[in-house]
């Protein structure tokens, strides 16, 4: 249930292309505490596999990955 997750910060990456969304996501995660969550909004369809790959490489956990209209929404938790 995405509603019950506390979001620490929201990143608006709508209209941005690779590499900016991932760079901004990485920076945002560095700015919060372990266990806290960043919400990222993006419109680049490449961000869907990219956020997944980011999880695979960094271990930060995707709590939600969904699409609402033309906008992709991700919830990513800092794990370390």
């Amino acid at each position: 249930m995405a509603e019950t997750i506390k979001i620490q910060q929201t990143l608006d990456c709508k209209g941005l292309l690779c590499p900016l969304p991932i760079i901004k996501l990485s920076k945002a995660l560095k700015g919060i505490q372990v266990g806290e969550v960043v919400e990222m909004l993006a419109t680049d369809p490449g961000s869907v596999p990219d956020v997944k790959a980011f999880q695979a490489q960094t271990g930060h956990e995707i709590l939600a990955s969904e699409q609402q209209g033309g906008v992709y929404r991700f919830l990513v938790k800092r794990t370390k």
Binding site: G15, C18, P19, I22, I23, S26, K27, Q57
Partner: protein
């Protein structure tokens, strides 16, 4: 996680506007994932670290059949390659590409280099290129480290991903 930090080693050998982007995009992305990244800038690729040139990289329409048609509605009507050699065509193609980049909110080459510096990407400046082209350390951004092929190979020997661009 007790895993070893991953390492990306790249050679950036081209100094045109279009070819400057791929190594910088890969480098900034890998750095964002916590990887160690080193780029060896060699031959014209060294212009990417050149203080005076890095904001003036150009894209050439000569010998580049991928250049888009001037009228998007007529995709088969390409600019003849020969016309690319006319005065002003390189400037025009460069302005056009910079326009697409700005419209897509893409960072400039300078901004990507700054992001590399921020992400602790090692920027190796090929010593041979510096010697051949008369480029000194003062001509380059302060983070450029003059190094030879041996240094790069030593760095790349323990890389997980190595690319030549």
């Amino acid at each position: 996680m007790g895993e070893k930090t991953k390492r990306l080693a790249m050679v950036a050998s081209k100094g045109t506007l279009d070819q400057a982007y791929p190594p910088l995009i890969l480098a900034t992305t890998a750095a964002a994932m916590g990887w160690e990244v080193g780029i060896f800038f060699t031959f014209y690729g060294l212009d990417i670290l050149h203080k005076k040139r890095l904001e003036h990289l150009q894209v050439s329409p000569v010998g580049n059949p991928a250049m888009p048609p001037p009228i998007p509605a007529i995709p088969m009507l390409k600019v003849p390659t020969l016309m690319g050699a006319l005065p002003g065509m390189t400037a025009m193609a460069t302005t056009m590409m910079k326009g697409w980049m700005a419209k897509a909110k893409m960072p400039s080459v300078k901004e990507l280099v700054d992001l590399c510096v921020e992400g602790d990407v090692q920027l190796f400046a090929c010593a041979t290129t510096m010697g051949v082209m008369g480029i000194t350390q003062e001509d380059l951004i302060p983070q450029a480290q003059c190094a030879g092929a041996t240094t790069f190979l030593d760095y790349a020997a323990s890389a997980d991903v190595s690319l030549f661009i």
